[in-house]
Symmetry: C2
Subunit: 298 residues, 2 copies
């Protein structure tokens, strides 16, 4: 029977493997690690990579925290449970080359002293320039992972990602979506072990998917206009993370370790007034495909 | 007796005078104007200045909107009033040179069909590098404006600004504060006209204060390290505006004109992991003075 220690331990191992794979694919940068402790219990390993050859700024964070349920959490979750345990791995990568997409991955486990628990997670891709074939490759890889566990997972978690990674005030999705799920626990013919197996396979999928996208795009030529467009798209990423991302909001409200939470923000971003994409341009193509409900595998 | 038309008209005139003063002080850039209409009633004049000699990006917005109270507004304000009118001038200036501070000014008027109304506003200064003498000059100018109208205004509105322009997750004020007030209406021996006179004098104070700070700092030499520090401080400005600023949040929630609302964001900003200021440096001095309750005139 898996327990929280096993889950946290597997998450830590995953963090190691992902960091190695990213360092190898980058060819230059090394992660710097900060080990931190949470005053209320537990802690984490924040690993940040800056100024790599392929990755300009990225983070692969592991944490496993426990202790008394903060009142704000009891209220939000409508529970009297006294203690909690939470562990997860969180990744965001901001590449140098605008033709390499931004990526995010998170898997997490949460349990309370009243015995309730659940898993959550997701992967989503934010290309500065959308390329249909690459979006299809990405979604096919996620569908393969999902289908190996349950036929409902891909369609429902793909829709969940479309709805979650959305910027209402821009009427844009953050990127080409991916999968997102939360409150996954035993039921529907699945045991806790099987849920965890699925979550781990989402985590394992990250490195092969992203290193392939890095290799495919890292050497593409870049114009000044494309670099500028990348800065503007990163501005949207900042808007999503600071205004809508539930994990970020929760971290800010509960006074989490701020430098670990905001590692998701890019090194450089830009806002320029009322930018329009030229008709027929790659930028216009991208904007036209920042929509919910697109079937990249169709 | 002043009415909403008079107030909006005076606000528009103020916008014109401020834009002229900024253009003159900049010496190069011209504001571009977008006139927009709000589907539900009213509209605005957004004026944006980009790539000036002194100002990298800035906006001076005027709007006067009216119509049916949006349900979310009725709920927030706990009212049954059917219609509203709102007018204001909003300014943010992001300078090129890190020794010129960022500044924000807003004055506004709101009324509802049940006869309630109020004024609000504020000015606050966000130096990338705090200079005590300039913070004192700024606060003295605001105190002079306040004291001409009521002896309580400066101390209470200064405190209000300290509390409002605060970034809890960084445990930093946005800058050296200024004044902030809301829900100002007749009472305490003041008529509506006298309240409006005060609000106008806040608006009139903006241009002389900021053009003086521009002139004083625009030609200072700048190192690469100082430019980088400016980008990091702008990152904090983005965090405040997207996470905490009530006006921005309200605009995003009510689907206001997004390009006008987010004109407050800088052209370029940066986030770098776990930056520390060197002991005894100008950066460390600045961080040590991003605190509530400092008496710059003491």
């Amino acid at each position: 029977m898996i327990d929280k220690h096993q889950i946290a331990s597997d998450f830590r191992d995953l963090q190691d493997r992902i960091c190695l794979a990213i360092e190898q694919a980058d060819g230059k940068a090394k992660f710097q690690e900060d080990i931190w402790q949470r005053p209320g219990g537990g802690g984490g390993h924040t690993r940040i990579l800056q100024e790599g050859k392929v990755i300009e700024k990225g983070g692969v964070n592991f944490s496993a925290v426990d202790g008394a349920m903060p009142p704000i959490l009891q209220q939000k979750m409508n529970t009297q449970a006294k203690d909690f345990f939470a562990s997860g791995v969180s990744i965001v990568m901001h590449p140098q080359n605008p033709h390499v997409p931004i990526i995010h991955m998170n898997i997490r486990y949460f349990e309370m002293s009243d015995g309730t628990y659940w898993f959550g997670g997701g992967i989503d891709l934010t290309p500065h320039y959308i390329v249909a074939a690459q979006a299809a490759f990405f979604h096919q890889a996620l569908k393969d992972v999902c289908d190996a566990h349950h036929p409902d997972y891909y369609p429902s978690y793909k829709k969940w990602a479309d709805d979650y990674f959305y910027i209402p005030h821009r009427e844009e999705t953050r990127g080409v979506g991916g999968i997102f799920f939360d409150r996954l626990s035993e039921g529907n013919g699945k045991s806790k072990e099987q849920c965890f197996d699925f979550v781990k396979s989402v985590g394992e999928a990250f490195a092969p998917i992203y290193t392939a996208l890095m290799a495919q795009n890292k050497s593409k030529k870049v114009t000044e206009a494309e670099k500028n467009w990348q800065l503007l798209r990163r501005g949207r990423y900042v808007e999503f993370n600071l205004v809508y991302d539930q994990g970020t909001k929760f971290g800010l409200e509960t006074a989490g370790r701020i430098e670990s939470i905001l590692m998701s923000l890019p090194k450089y971003a830009s806002w320029q007034y009322d930018i329009k994409a030229e008709e027929g341009s790659a930028e216009a193509y991208t904007l036209a495909h920042l929509k919910k409900g697109l079937d990249w595998l169709g």
